[in-house]
């Protein structure tokens, strides 16, 4: 019976499950309902009647969802939001979900996108200096013609991320796994890829001053880098 109740709640909360506040609320509600169910059974109601009475006492779930930090909800569910041409320096975008978001022509200097999901989002011609992308999911994101000086990418997901025509000088990609990432025509002066794992990474640009010490890469990436005269003394080819 507990399982049945749990499944029911999982079902009604499924569309909102990403929000931490909602998860906590679900836990509260589940414990309440379980207690109510037990009380009703102790009062002598049969399983089905007790279960139905319990479920009926929930009411409209949308009512609670609306009340949960409207702001948090808005921030956390910005799917396809357009922040283009915005001036948003030092903004807090921590742990938000902005799938397919657009941040084109924006000033986001110093903003924090840590642990956010920015899959498929696009950042064209934007100021991203000193932006934090720590633990951020940037799968298939397009960061083109943007300035990324001092940006950080610790533990970020960069599968298929496109960094074309961007200034990444001095940025650190040490220990990262880069798969299908594209750095074509980008500034990589002093950019470091120490002990990074590179697969199918495209570097059609000046890589002479990028650092690849201890990196592991596939033959294709190696050949490309070699063609562009990167220093590859300390590299493992797989």
């Amino acid at each position: 019976m507990n399982e049945k109740l749990k499944k029911y709640l999982d079902g009604i909360f499924a569309p909102y499950d990403d929000l931490k506040a909602v998860q906590e609320l679900k836990e509260e509600l589940f414990n309440d309902l379980q207690e109510k169910l037990n009380d009703l059974k102790n009062e002598g109601y049969d399983e089905d009647t007790a279960y139905n009475t319990t479920i009926n006492s929930i009411g409209e779930v949308s009512e609670i969802i609306e009340s949960i930090h409207t702001k948090t909800c808005e921030l956390q569910q910005m799917v396809g939001m357009d922040f283009s041409k915005s001036n948003l320096p030092n903004s807090d975008f921590k742990a938000v979900k902005v799938l397919d978001g657009k941040f084109n022509y924006s000033n986001l200097q110093g903003s924090d996108f840590s642990h956010s999901d920015l899959s498929n989002s696009s950042f064209k011609c934007s100021n991203l200096n000193h932006v934090k992308f720590d633990g951020t999911n940037l799968t298939d994101a397009k960061i083109e013609k943007s300035s990324l000086k001092g940006a950080s990418f610790k533990n970020s997901e960069l599968k298929g991320t496109i960094f074309k025509y961007s200034d990444l000088s001095g940025v650190c990609f040490d220990h990262q796994t880069l798969h299908g990432t594209n750095f074509d025509y980008s500034g990589l002066k002093g950019t470091t890829f120490r002990h990074a794992v590179l697969r199918n990474v495209s570097f059609k640009t000046d890589v002479k001053k990028a650092i690849f010490d201890g990196a592991t890469m596939d033959k294709l990436t190696y050949a490309l880098l070699k063609g562009y005269r990167a220093k590859l003394d300390n590299v493992t080819v797989i």
Binding site: L29, Q34, I58, I64
Partner: protein, 109 residues
């Protein structure tokens, strides 16, 4: 009470005040509150969980109450709600407003 059912719309606007009053007498968790509302109305009014939680969350955002997780050893953990000083003031204001409205309505209805 036979045949009569309290219109939930009539009560809806006062749920905040009802919750605050219950919390004046000590910290409580969700189900405890809904049971007290049920018994306090002699079974005449059933507070839906969704309505209760939306009020609790709003009261919390407004700073009228705070919440904390209890340290239950058995079963699921419970979140307790506690009234703040601001909440006590809100309760008194709401109660005064209600007394005033009640006098007017008694004359009008």
């Amino acid at each position: 009470m036979t045949g009569l059912k309290i219109s939930s719309d009539l009560i809806r606007g006062h749920i905040d005040t009802i919750l605050l009053k219950l919390l004046l007498k000590g910290d409580k968790y969700g189900y405890e509150i809904s049971k007290l509302v049920h018994s306090g109305s002699n079974g005449g009014y059933e507070l839906k969980e969704a309505t209760m939680y939306s009020c609790l969350k709003r009261l919390e955002q407004e700073g009228n109450i705070t919440s904390y997780w209890g340290d239950e050893t058995q079963g699921g953990r419970r979140k307790y709600y506690r009234i703040t000083d601001k909440g006590k003031t809100t309760y008194i204001d709401n109660k005064n407003n209600w007394e005033y409205a009640k006098r007017i309505l008694d004359n009008l209805i």
